[in-house]
Each structure stands twice: as C-alpha cells, then as structure tokens.
Assembly symmetry: C2
Homo-oligomer: 337 residues x 2
DNA sequence: GATGAAAGTGTAACCGATTCCACTTTGTTC
DNA sequence: GAACAAAGTGGAATCGGTTACACTTTCATC
C-alpha cells in the first residue's frame, strides 16, 4: 500500500524525462519515438499510474467538468433529466458534479460557491432563487450557465433550455375548454418562478381569449417543495362551487395532488377532469390513466449539454432553445356533463 | 472580465503575505492578528476571491469529495438514494460526483478510471459488473468503497450497506403463503447480482421450509435495464397453470410489470395478489394500492456516507450494515379463494 | 561531407494553493 | 530591564502535472 505513482515514477521506470511521459499522456502534444512510447506505456501499466485530475486542472484551467444543479432529484422529471444529462455528458468525455438545492436559496448559494471554486467549465441548473449576484460572479469567472426548465431574470449571458411553458398551459386549457369545462382549477409553481408565471399567464390568457370568466379562487400558486399540493387540491375540491377540471402544472406536486383526489369521493373523470404536468410511467398506470403534458427530457438534456460545452471560450450572445412539450390525451379528461 | 483573483492578489491587496491569507482561509491553522484578518477578509470580498479546489486538492491529497456510481438514476429507488446521499454529504461539507453506469460493465470501468484520477476520498456504488480489478486498484489508491444495495464478491476491504435481501424475500413470501397462495411468481434481478440471488434464495428457502413445491417455471431472473419485466410478467400470466400471486423483487422492473398486468384482463387482487419491491409514492395511488417492500433510502444514505467518510485513512476491517426493509401491506394482496 | 530541417528529448518555470520553519514583534514575569 | 514565551509574519519548498524552449540526434539533400 505504497503511495500512488506519479509522473516522475513513470519517467524513472521508463528511463526517460517527465516531459516525454506527459507527451505520451496527451497524445499529439509533441513527438515521441515509437519505442519510447512503448516503454512509457508499459511503465504506466506496471505502476498502474493514473494522472491526477487536480494537477491537470491546476495547470490547464477548467477542464471538461460540468456542474449540474438541480432542485430535487426525487422529482421524476429532474431524475430523468439528470440521467440523460449524465449520459450525454459522459459520451463526450465530460464529468458531472451533481448538487441539489432542495429549493432552498441558501443551499443554492453554497452550491454556486462550490462550483465557482471548482472552476467547472459549465453549469446546468434549474435555479431556485433570484440569487443574481452569485450567478453573475460565476459568469464572470468564465463559466457557462445553462438554465433548464426555469430561469433567473436579470442574468444575461445565460443560455436557456425549456419547454414552451406558456403554450403548454394554453394547450391544456384549450383542451378542457373544448370539452366544455369553464371552471378549471389551476395549480402551478410560485409566481416568482418563470415556469409558474408563464404557465399561469398562458392559462389566464387562454381563458380571456375564449371569453371565460376567471375566478381567482381557482388559482393556486404553491411551492415545489413540501406537500402543499394536497392542501391546494383539497381546498379546490371543497369550494362552494368546485371546479369541474384541474390542471396540475407543478411537476413536483402531482403525486400529492393525485393522492388528495383519490382520498376524496370525487371520481375522475366523471366528476373531475384532470391534466398533470409530468413524465412518469405511473401516470399511465393510474386509474384512470392520466392525461399528461410531457416534457421531452432526453432532448432537453442533449441541448443543455450542447450549450454548456459549446459556449466555453465563446463570447456570443446567449441562446435560448425552446422545445415543444408533448400533450398526451388519455382517460382522465372528458366532456363536462 | 479579467482573470479571477488568486491568493497572491489577495495578499497584495491586503499588504500581507500569502501565508497569512492561507491561514485566514483555513481557520485555526495558525495565528492571525484580528486587524490583519479584517483586512484580508475585506480584500477577499473586494476581489470576490474563491480558493481553487484544484490547487487545494493537489497539495493536501484527497479532499472530501465522494464519487457516487449508480446504475440508473431513472429508477426511483436510486433517485431517492442519490437525493439522500447528496443531501447527507452536503451537510458535512462534502461534494458528490455522480456517475451512472446504465448497467454496462464498460461504462462502469470508465467511471472507475475517472474516479481513480480524481482521487476521490470515497466511492458509494451500486456495482454492475464483476470488475474486480478496477475496484481493487481503486482500493489500493486508498479510496473507500461502499457498496449499496448490491455488492461485488471478491472485493475485500469494501463496506456494504443493504437491506436484508434474504429476509425481505422471506417476509413477502410468508405473507403470501399465510394467505393461502402456493403458486407464486417471483421476478427478480439476474442471479449474477447479489440482490437477485439473495432474494431468490430467500424465496425458495421459505417455500421449502413450508413444504410448498417449487416450480422453476415461476421464477424469472431478468436484467434491471430494459423492458423485460413486461415479458416476464406476461409469460407468467399465460402459463397453463398461472400463479395466484406475483412478487416483483426487481425494483427497476416494477413499472413494466405492473403495466403488463394492467393491460391484461387479470384483476388485482381478485385473481392475482401482487407485492412489489419499490419505494415510490405512486404505488399507493395505484388501484388497488400496492403492497410493497420499502427500502429505507434515507437510512441507507446516511450509513453509506458515514462509512465512506469514516474509513478515510482507517485500516480496520470492512464493515457491513444491514437494514431492515419495511413491509407495507396495502390492498393488492388477499387470501386466495 | 557540409547543411539545415525535423524528430526526439530534457530542463525548468509555471499553475494556486498549503505548510514548515525561521524570523520579528509583542507581552509577561521576576 | 533582562529573559523568555507567545503571537504574528514571511520566505520558500511542495503537491503533480503541462509546456515553452533549448538542446542533441537523425537524416535527406545538395
């Protein structure tokens, strides 16, 4: 159990200088005699030598490491996203450092500090706070920022990948209006988040365009973290004049919402039509199978990694990739009777 | 957009030497005059200085960074585990590098190489392969290995955290036997994995002890990755003499299995009792709510991080933490008629 | 055989932190 | 006020790589 081999050990074993070993390591960085290369390779093998990433990074600036800053891996949507991003990054030889914020601004700040200290090449994030300063500093350090799903206003130079939130809310709302629903409960994230706001606006705009009265009581903007989805749903159901349909546009609260509905005596879709924003195999297995708005995670992941890596050393304008969400009509929505 | 500040910039700005700045950085590593400390802090603030992790790691050996090597973050069980581990690690100031293997031995090998190059302090992993050499090398480098859920035989010095697989299978099986079932389908992971084997053995042993004949046709050992859960379930249901109960002891295949059952005309629990190994809010929302074997992920995460960090620099014997799984009886199991 | 380009190699300076040790200043005690 | 300990500080080595540059060797060319 001796100390791990260093480049000098390898050089000594191969009877050569460290410069040459380094050249073997970084193929193409200089000429090396074939015979020498052989010897060096063998020495590395014998000593089971691995160059230390820390040393490399120190000398040559941010290597290809991405930070992934997610709110909550427990949310299936984020889990799928994480999986795809790690996969995508790996296929390009890039490593991913995962951090979670639990939707907590302070934790997010910590994470950003860490990422700054690491001098990662890029950060892919679902931001929680309006922590503009920290984001800004990271950018000044030369880090690429790619916001996925949500974004922070006031952070220029950050790329964005998301679904068309406004439009997805419109689509869901129109579907229900077409079925004759006019009292529609709408549960979404906080208005302080871009997704919460865009979806709410899309929903309200559609109602207005169709000349349907909007009742503020039917809107519920609740946090992602925690269990308020159940309460919000419960209070909607117990309104004097309850909605005939509900859209849960808060991915993290779908399970809590559905649980609450199931506990009640309300039948879906007979008494209540239901649309949820989720990408989760179980929505199909629920009885009745749920009509969903699906976010194409694989595509989002590919674009995110693309942007995070592409922009390294690039100074062009921030880019924004908007992806269509996929509306899947199943059995939880039907015409109002 | 000038270069980020270094410790020397801070020293210059504060009119002091870098040694003192370093002492301010690492509180307790030496005396610093209060007034000086003030000035240094201000300088750091002004320059928005962040010490580079790479430089620190280089000098002071493996810092507190953990590698987390999971098979598949898409699997809710692993996602929860990842979430808990990241949380737990973070609360101790440790960062987590996430890598996924997709159950692919070659990808796993790559990941292990990367981890070795990083000289992470410890690795928490759900191993895929019998890649003994790579694991061994990592250990020789002084890395702590903690296997969670599954483990690799032939890797001594590795810690282990898992549920009592044998016992959990027994418990599930006994529950069904108590309800009068004797033809029980059993779907688990490959026999090449420790979980697959232990659960299958527990199941078979229980049958034997109770004097129930075992029909090899009722056993299905299938991969975690892919969609074979559906096929396995389908073929069980279409046996000439189909089982009256099924245990899905392969976490990754639960959703596929359940989907297949739902597509069939078989009613749960009237025609078929069902127990699944899963920890997923949706199992409760399914109709009927599913009887499950829950793996306490938070606890497992805490122990894993504990072990991974504790053993750093420690040379004692490998430790093994076995946690009781929690059997939750809901509505998908009933007495055979 | 002289000549110059290309190939192959080594020396030493970095990257940005930590830390040992020597040095100076300050404070305490008799 | 001498003597000595403690507090405060700085110089320089170090971690393990990369890389610029200088040097030597090889070899084709005239």
């Amino acid at each position: 159990m001796s100390k791990p081999a260093t480049i000098r050990d390898v050089a000594a074993a191969a009877g050569i200088s460290i410069a040459v070993v380094s050249r073997v390591l970084n193929d193409g960085s200089g000429p090396v005699a074939p015979a020498t290369r052989q010897r060096v390779m063998k020495a590395m093998e014998d000593l089971s030598y691995r160059p230390r990433t820390a040393a490399r990074e120190l000398k040559s600036g941010p290597t290809t490491t991405l930070g992934l800053l997610l709110a909550d891996v427990t949310n299936p949507f984020f889990a799928r996203l994480a999986d795809s991003i790690v996969r995508e990054a790996r296929s390009r030889g890039v490593q991913v450092i995962l951090m979670t914020t639990q939707e907590d601004a302070r934790l997010e700040q910590d994470a950003l500090d860490t990422l700054a200290a690491r001098r990662v090449g890029g950060v892919i994030a679902t931001p929680t706070s309006t922590n503009v300063d920290s984001w800004q500093r990271l950018i000044e350090l030369g880090t690429n920022i790619v916001f996925v799903d949500r974004y922070v206003e006031g952070v220029p130079h950050a790329d964005l990948v998301s679904i068309d939130n406004d439009r997805s809310a419109r689509e869901a709302t129109e579907h229900l209006l077409d079925l004759g629903h006019t009292r529609i409960g709408f549960i979404s994230g906080p208005l302080s988040t871009t997704t919460g706001r865009a979806r709410t606006e899309g929903h309200l705009a559609t109602l207005a365009e169709r000349g349907v009265a909007t009742d503020p009581q039917l809107l519920r903007n609740i946090p992602f973290r925690g269990d308020q989805g159940a309460d919000a749903t419960g209070s909607l159901l117990s309104l004097p004049e309850p909605p005939t349909a509900i859209i849960v546009a808060n991915t993290a609260q779908v399970a809590a919402s559905v649980r609450r509905i199931r506990q009640s005596s309300v039948r879906v879709p007979e008494d209540l039509s239901l649309i949820v924003f989720d990408d989760n195999p179980w929505t199909e297995l629920f009885t009745p199978s749920l009509t969903i708005m699906r976010q194409p995670t694989t595509l989002m992941a590919a674009h995110s990694v693309d942007l995070a890596l592409q922009r390294i050393g690039d100074d062009s304008d921030p880019r924004s990739v908007v992806i269509e969400a996929e509306f899947v009509v199943r059995s939880s929505t039907r015409a109002v009777n």
